[in-house]
Symmetry: C2
Subunit: 153 residues, 2 copies
DNA sequence: GCCACAATTGAGAATGATTATCAATTTTGC
DNA sequence: GCAAAATTGATAATCATTCTCAATTGTGGC
């Protein structure tokens, strides 16, 4: 089933409604196909004349996350990123602290060990976050200034 | 060298000052020996009559993190947790979403694979976050209500 | 040990992403 | 097509954390 269909099913299962606004938001996300912030989406809509209230967008993103169609990447600070998860499986992220680029990675061994760790501690895993922060290939190459000691100019 | 000594060295290296307030905060943290929030510390101080301004506490915590004496655990929402890192090495966390308990875990294989992944993508790792969220042994046992579908009572 | 000067403190305001409120509007099962 | 329930948008609220700035406190050099 396609994304719109899955969202529709999720909504009806939960006695929620498929509205024009929700459809528009899902379409916009499918068109982006990448990582984005709530503000990115709001800007897209504004550019196209269609105006969506921030509250509505946040509410819809929450529903999409619940439906498993979108994944939310909580950043240490600043806005959260979102990414469509339609037709994709789980992966984790490397985040460039210089340019903000997000690189995805996926490792079955890590996932397996993680599950083992939980089993050993009798911990029932619900979700996890695995973020590597550092400098991407381009930024390290271009001599991105490293964290400067205090007092240095 | 002990924690106070290391902090003093960090401060002087960076042209910062060892003040009475900073000493008090470090002592309080060493006394706690566990995970805590900024508010936990503020409450401790208030209880003892010594009042520390939130701004000051946050500033000092930031210095302690920079000095490598304290680690900050960014939560998806709500206050950040901190933990003393004096005389300990790196570990990651399992966080119980029912009771808030934080369980530490440590796995060399995961760390090694992580480093490999970075090498392959030419990514210069600065720091990482690896959090497993779910239900701890006690909470799963006590029949903690699972995430309830919408509309259910 | 004192002094000048830079760093620190505290009080309070500001920030900023996200969430809550609520009246007006839209969907939908029947 | 209707009534009931959900949604929307405008706006206010939240809340952890950071900023501002005047008053205070450490410290290196003498």
């Amino acid at each position: 089933m396609n994304a719109a269909g899955r969202f529709a099913r999720y909504l009806s299962t939960n006695r929620l409604k498929m509205t024009r606004t929700r459809r528009a938001i899902l379409e916009e996300i499918l068109a982006i196909r990448g990582h984005f912030t709530a503000d990115d989406l709001l800007a897209h809509f504004r550019r196209r004349g269609r105006d969506v209230a921030p509250a509505t967008l946040y509410r819809t993103l929450a529903r999409l996350v619940e439906a498993g169609l979108v994944h939310r990447i909580d950043m240490a600070k600043g806005q959260a990123r979102y990414e469509p998860m339609f037709g994709r499986h789980h992966h984790d992220h490397m985040i460039c602290v210089s340019c903000g680029k997000i690189i995805e990675f996926e490792n079955r061994t890590i996932e397996r060990i993680q599950a083992d760790v939980c089993r050993r501690k009798r911990f029932t895993l619900v979700e996890h976050t695995h973020q590597l922060r550092g400098h991407c290939a381009q930024c390290s190459q271009n001599g991105t200034p490293a964290a400067r000691p205090r007092g240095a100019s």
